[in-house]
Amino acid sequence: AQTVTQSQPEMSVQEAETVTLSCTYDTSESDYYLFWYKQPPSRQMILVIRQEAYKQQNATENRFSVNFQKAAKSFSLKISDSQLGDAAMYFCAYRFYNAGNMLTFGGGTRLMVKP
């Protein structure tokens, strides 16, 4: 079975600074997707960024980027120029290509942004 581990239950960052959230996963598959989801206090889960395992290039979405290390099974999220609106729960998730879109989630990291 696949597992996803987020080792940091809480993180804090100063506004305008950079923060990195860690995620490791365990799988024997070679074709899969990895995701970071954001869940603000309103509770609506929002997709932040997505990475296909077959792509060597790290995904980037504006201030959000990932460091995907396939051999190490590591998928960290870097948030640059942190903003107050970035404060939320962040979930790392894994999906095997043929898994019918089922996601396996990590336990989440609560990010606090200090003004």
């Binding site: 609506q44 997709l47 336990g107």
Partner: protein, 115 residues
Amino acid sequence: DVKVTQSSRYLVKRTGEKVFLECVQDMDHENMFWYRQDPGLGLRLIYFSYDVKMKEKGDIPEGYSVSREKKERFSLILESASTNQTSMYLCASSSHLRVSGNTIYFGEGSWLTVV
């Protein structure tokens, strides 16, 4: 925009009551999911459905059942609610098509308290 609507945001039910959580999506998605979210455990898949009248057990199906009579609607049923089912329940949907990583869209969540 894709919309996944959960009919109840907050519910309080008594132990032993039958509980229905309703979810509707407006994007003609084939796949629908019910997740349970608990602190430190992330999201865990209860059931999913890949077509009308089709359902598959997820990681924690015990104590739950589901119904998918129409493509847009996926209901989660607690036949006899228990206090350990107090949680946040999230509905989600996605397309079958392998486009853009088959993004999964979430509803806003339903807080269920069983007393």
